[in-house]
């Protein structure tokens, strides 16, 4: 089992993500710089970490999503490679077109930073199967642009296909239909604004994030 974390200029959760992956797989994650052009073929799971890639210039995640490594990531996603993006990583996934919709400025305009209760909407995905029927988790959130937007047709399709994986219990940012995390049609690409990688050790205040990493690793 080999995992990797892509690092962009001003990523700041890349080491948290690597720690989470190492904890669950027992092997260090490979760190891949954004200028690389290819994800090694033996990598089984890739995380796009949180942060403020390129200082959020132009739009959050916009410049990162056009970097050389993401081009290869898009090609490999279509072949089924599991990829998860948290926070800025989610923004990179929507900007690259791997996930539908976009993340707008928080409705209340303020930066939100707190533990956030989430409901698990679909426990049968590759990212939630190990929660064993658990209905609620608490993950930290820390973002200014986490207001999920998609047109009604897209939202209806996401709901119908069970691709809304997590919802906010108490909407912190104005996200459409309280959506916190979604998967692509193939179920291999997942994105969410909250930070499961910051909930993997008791010193974090909780370990609810472990189930997500265990789920995807178990599914490979």
């Amino acid at each position: 089992m080999k995992t990797a974390v892509i690092t962009f200029p001003a990523s700041n959760c890349n080491r948290d993500a690597a720690m989470a992956l190492e904890k669950v797989t027992g092997r260090p994650a490979q760190m891949i710089w954004h200028r690389e052009t290819e994800i090694p073929s033996d990598i089984d799971f890739v995380v796009l970490p949180g942060g403020f890639s390129y200082g959020d210039y132009l739009r959050c995640g916009a410049i990162a999503s056009r970097s050389p490594i993401v081009k290869d990531l898009v090609a490999k996603a279509e072949k089924g490679l599991p990829i998860a993006g948290f926070c800025n990583g989610f923004q990179v996934l929507t900007e690259s077109g791997l996930l539908p919709g976009a993340l707008l400025r928080n409705k209340q305009l303020n930066f939100v930073c707190r533990p956030q209760k989430l409901t698990i909407e679909n426990g049968n995905t590759r990212y939630t199967s190990q929660y064993a029927g658990l209905k609620e988790v608490i993950f930290p959130i820390a973002h200014h642009d986490g207001n999920y937007y998609a047109d009604d047709a897209t939202l209806n399709q996401l709901e119908k296909e069970g691709r809304v994986v997590f919802r906010y219990a108490g909407n912190p940012n104005g996200s459409a239909r309280d959506i916190a995390g979604i998967v692509n049609e193939g179920g291999n690409v997942f994105g969410m604004m909250p930070h499961p990688e910051r909930a993997i050790d008791p010193v974090h205040g909780g370990t609810d994030g472990l189930g997500l990493f265990k789920s995807i690793i178990e599914s490979i």
Partner: protein
């Protein structure tokens, strides 16, 4: 040549920054302001002198990077 690219949120997409601007202007006594929408202007310096070609190229730039067409629309002006 110079291209001016105006990028803004599409109608119907919530613009909380624009709303805050409108409210603040109302607070300052500008009661006639009934809405504000915040966008951005990107100025590009371009080589060449074929305006039609430039417009086509800048349109491609908008579609590929400058605008996120899920939420944003854009308008292009080409100047000498």
């Amino acid at each position: 040549m110079k291209a001016l690219v105006y990028v803004g949120l599409k109608p119907g997409v919530l613009d909380p920054q624009g709303r805050a601007i409108a409210r603040s202007l109302n607070d300052l006594g500008f009661d006639e302001v009934t809405g504000a929408f915040q966008g951005k202007v990107i100025e590009l310096n371009l080589s060449g002198d074929d305006k039609d070609h430039a417009k086509a190229r800048v349109t491609e730039m908008c579609e590929k990077l400058l605008a996120n067409t899920v939420i944003e629309s854009y308008r292009i002006e080409i100047e000498d």
